[in-house]
């Protein structure tokens, strides 16, 4: 499955970024082979003045992401992610990308079903 994780670094040993719309990068990989397939892309929503969560969520759909792992989603981002039928899971910022993928595979990550605070990532 194609996974996307919000992150601050371009390495599987870097940490999950708990901001969704305002994270610097997204890591995309196939869940069966993260090492072999991981690619990192700049978050296209980062520079915008507003609606970053919406733009990032739309980007997930464009990238045909099947599973999203991030910190939390604001109300607007969640609406887009749900419309795109992309299951989203919450991971802690203390997890590396490798650990987050492993935790998701083992069913330890909670599914995001409620929106977090709006504008939480603007810091």
């Amino acid at each position: 499955m194609r996974i996307a994780i919000s992150t601050g670094g371009r390495d599987l040993e870097k940490f999950v970024d708990d901001r969704f719309g305002r994270c610097p990068y997204f890591m995309f990989c196939d869940s069966e082979d993260p090492m072999g397939t991981a690619e990192y892309k700049d978050n296209p929503a980062l520079a915008g003045t507003g609606g970053a969560g919406i733009a990032a969520a739309e980007y997930m759909a464009k990238e045909k992401v099947e599973v999203l792992i991030t910190g939390s989603l604001g109300p607007n981002a969640l609406r887009v992610i749900e419309a795109g039928n992309i299951p989203a899971y919450t991971a802690s910022e203390s997890m590396t990308l490798t650990e987050a993928i492993k935790a998701w595979k083992e069913g330890h990550l909670l599914k995001i079903s409620e929106a977090g605070a709006a504008h939480a990532g603007e810091r």
Partner: protein, 291 residues
């Protein structure tokens, strides 16, 4: 004659100055007071005008019709991300939409209809010969711009006489809202207070006035007799138009939501200040004509 009352820092006394100036001019000149601080308009608390009419300010936003092919051009073009094309549908976020209409222009199949939502309102009233206008942004809304624009439009329609005085009570800060409220004025009155915060934000407001090329002067409120503001004005060659003392009685009257006009001492102070402002505007006009 259009006067913009602004401050940089909030709470320095913009509304006190604007309301009392308007009331003191009203017996001699056709006077209009306009509250442009649409996020928290408070001039009407002191003016208590008889409201004659209210109108709603609308903002258009897109509604996608059945012709849509999900091409995504609207979402790509929207810099506010008010549209998202996902999961076989177009999601619209009206609260992010600035009403620019770009989505409709770029749509190749005419699938964007325009609907509108209410953003705020404008009230028009009268009190003691002062025409009173105010814009009110709806709670929870963040776009003050369209309400200010509409109010500005109404202000222009309202005035006919050249001798008329318009007192524009502007928002605090130095953002777009301030610029749109203050531009095209004959003189900006920068209301400040003798505190370090007051001076700091006054400097920002002065920079804005110079950037905009707007004539301005300073009014010192809560004057404690100190030299902080006076020295700055002298150094910068800025006209200090007047001073309102730091006085408990003024604070008391203000806290009751009353104007200062009932107290002869303060009525005189504002009359003098008003005359000074008129002189200043005329002086600058003659200077400008000569140049």
């Amino acid at each position: 004659m259009r006067l913009a009352v602004l401050s940089g820092k909030g709470g320095t006394g913009k509304t006190t100055v604007a309301v009392n100036l308007a009331l003191s001019w009203a017996p001699y000149r056709i006077t209009t007071y306009v509250d442009y601080d649409v996020e928290e308009p408070n001039g009407f608390i002191f003016l208590r005008p008889q409201i004659q009419s209210s109108s709603t300010v609308f903002l258009p936003y897109p509604k996608i019709n059945g012709a849509c092919t999900l091409c995504g051009k609207c979402s790509e073009a929207c810099q506010y991300h008010a549209l998202a094309v996902v999961g076989g549908q177009v999601l619209v976020f009206p609260e992010l939409c600035h009403g620019c209409g770009t989505c409709g222009i770029v749509c190749p199949v005419d699938a964007v209809d325009e609907v509108k939502r209410s953003l705020g309102q404008i009230d028009v009233g009268e009190r003691d010969g002062v025409q009173c206008l105010q814009g009110v942004l709806k709670e929870g809304e963040s776009l003050a711009g369209p309400v200010i624009r509409e109010l500005r439009h109404l202000e222009k329609k309202h005035i006919s006489q050249v001798e008329e005085v318009i007192v524009a009570d502007c928002p605090p800060g130095s953002s777009c809202s301030v610029i749109h409220s203050a531009e095209d004025s004959d003189l900006a009155l920068l209301v400040t207070e003798p505190t370090l915060f007051g001076l700091h934000d006054l400097k920002i407001a002065v920079r804005l006035m110079r950037e905009m090329g707007l004539d301005f002067g300073v009014i010192q409120n809560k004057d404690d007799g100190g030299t902080l503001i006076r020295e700055y004005c002298t150094q910068e060659g800025i006209t200090l138009l007047g001073s309102i003392p730091f006085d408990l009685e003024i604070a008391r009257i203000y806290s009751r939501g009353q104007s200062l006009m009932n107290e002869p001492k303060w009525a005189d102070l504002f009359k003098t200040l008003g005359e000074r402002i008129v002189t200043e505007v005329n002086l600058r006009k003659t200077r400008g004509e000569r140049a």
